[in-house]
Amino acid sequence: MSERKRSASFFERYGGVVLLAGMIVLFAVTLPGKFLTYDNLIGVVSNQTIGGIVALGLLLPLAAGVFDISIGGVMTLAVVLVTWLFQTTGGDMPIPLAILITLLAGLAAGGVNAVLVVVAKVDPFIATIGTSSVFLGLSEVIANGETIAKNIPHAFTSIGRTEIFEVPITTVYLIVLALIVWYVLDHTPFGRNLYATGAGREAARLSGVPTSRVIFITFLVSALFATIAGVVYGARLGSGPPNTGASYLLPAYASAFLGSTMIKPGRFNVPGLIVALFIVAVGINGLQLYGIPFWVVDTYQGLVLIVAVVLARTKTRKAKRGKATTPGAAQAEGVPA
């Protein structure tokens, strides 16, 4: 029995929730009147919305067993493109049209990744590192190296700034998108095929799962979500700085991996991701309220990513021990045509 994977225990599933609750209690007690206020808490949540949207999209390629490093580049491109469309038309472009063009451009960027990986069979990691840099370069060209801030219509910025019953609208976006991704992953045949592809691509293909199509779609979805995040970011900020997306890459990976160790351990799952997002956010918020220096944020996020990956690794190793399959062997199968 020792060499077989055990079903996840209660603590493995809900350890993260317990940790989050513990952090909240700790900060509430040690930071009276600061941490547990409506403004602070809603601030924590709304700070996570954009990163959360990027991470939600990232769940799909990760669940299918491929990396998408280009999401930061795609998001930057979206921020710059949507604001530039207004600036260059003097604010006359209809808002839905500008958003539609940006979303299509984002899908095209995802399509480039998908073609490189599925058709040209380039390793996804390498392919998306390459395209990421290309998208960033493209953003620089469009923005001409400067932050785009002219002629951004008020109606556009309200997309990112409105509140509904004192809840920032961006939080509503996150909730809606999270529900959609959760439904797709857990309640559609596509979600099942996605997990099967990620857990054993060749075995899934031999069971009749269209693994290449699944992987193709995941790249479209992750790019689409990064684009949505970029549009929301541009609206909230009211301008388009040409260097934003890159800083969202690492936190997205950190929360996706940390999320994969809880609720449904061993799977990239939406509830786990949400808990992970708030473990990162609440931790940073608490540390900042303690007055801890600025560099702690990056260090903390990096540590969370590493710890999460180590946790996820030991779990998979437990599952794989004594099996012929290794992650390396699965990788070596390549993408079947």
């Binding site: 994977k5 079903s7 045949p189 099942r192 997990y195 293909r205 799962v209 599952a319 794989k320 062997a329």
Partner: protein, 504 residues
Amino acid sequence: MSVTDVSKTFVSTRALDRVDFDVRAGEVHALIGHNGSGKSTLVKVLAGFHKPDADSGPFTVEGKKLPYGDPEAVHRAGLRFIHQELGLLDELSLLENLRLGDRYLTGRGWRVRWGAERRRAAAALAIVGLDLDPDVKVADLTPIERTQVAVARAMQDEDAVRLVLLDEPTATLPSSEVTKLFELIRRMTAHGVGIVYVSHRLEEIEEIADRVTVLREGRVVGTGPRSEFDNARLVSLIVGSTAGEALPAAAREATQVHGEASLLDFQAVTAGELRQADFVIRTGEIVGVAGLAGSGVHDIPGVLLGRVPVESGHVVVAGRVIDDPDPAKLRPLGAAVLPSPRHLKGIPELTIRENVTLADLRPLTRGWNLDLRRERREAAAIVERFDVKPREPEKPLAELSGGNQQKVAVAKWLRIEPDLLVLDEPTQGVDVGAKAEILDLVASAAAEGLAVVLCSSDLDDLEAVCSRVLVIRGGRVATELTGEQINRKTITEECYRSEKARVS
């Protein structure tokens, strides 16, 4: 070199039972036996990978005692092992392959002395009669040259080498090059090196071996000079005299229902080891496919799964010619294929439920919605019907024993009610009870009209359920056995029958 009285017991099975084996300097000693005879266990004991049971006798080389389970000591004593896959790295040069796992000659500042290394590599290649640039990549070599390089690697410190074991060295060689291998072996024996030659091919053994040892069920059932064993005697030693065991209940009845519709038709298919293979499978029959390693048996499921490219010929499924077959193309035509490698049969991280329904989610889908409640009900029913243990559909597949994983894999395909099911080694690594259950399931599905192709190296399986057995030899269907001819002995004889004999 000699080992005496070696036994090796794995968890419940005795893989080697008091085996004696010895090799003299300069002789070729052939080691033969069917799959599961203990051959590979013996090889692994000699190589130091397995430690035999504590009551085993001594392991000696030139009179000196050697510890068991110590690969380094084995190497130091001058024993070399060349496995079927040769263990060469394609992307490295000959020189780098020769030095693999060993130190390079270095000069000042840890500089590799490439000049000296090249001369050393050329000398090693000369031992095997190869005149090649040591900087050539292994990927660019012909099959025989690769074998020669593997031998050169084993022989490079010539003076220290006492014994070389060749495991199925001809499995990857075209038959025209076998003579070159034999020349090489004779060159080695002339140096006083002893050879252990593991092979299925009796005609090769007839030509090259001085002595023969036959293993069956972990025991030596015959040993002596090659001249004392003719092919017929070898085959009967390999097969043994065990009579066929009791057949699963549903088995023979299934063979009665015979349709005429052709479900699978290979027309002069050349792919992998297959050479213009022709055969037809019809409704309701269970057709066994037998053959030795390298004969092309496993290329039949391989072709259907899209793992072995078709070079020429046509694969016809349910009356339609399929170019580049793969599972997604076969499923709509009612054909399903169960691959043989264990890690491809199912997905260990997914639950039993998820594995069992993976082949077709459409019956469980309304619009975009996967009806999980219905899926749970269906999975519970399947687990019950196929007697999967534990009866917990929510357990990850990885938690199941090999036999139960097999049942899940078979259940996955029977669930979609195919017209044709191709099974590649469905009972490999499965205990006797589970094996009978799996065969029973297949047989009762066949009784309802399912056509089954059973590629199995377990002859008892074939004997138990098949209405026809195709024997693959040299990449084509060499013989078709029916009725009383389907028994272990005849199948084995046909598998081992030499090509020469067939032609004449």
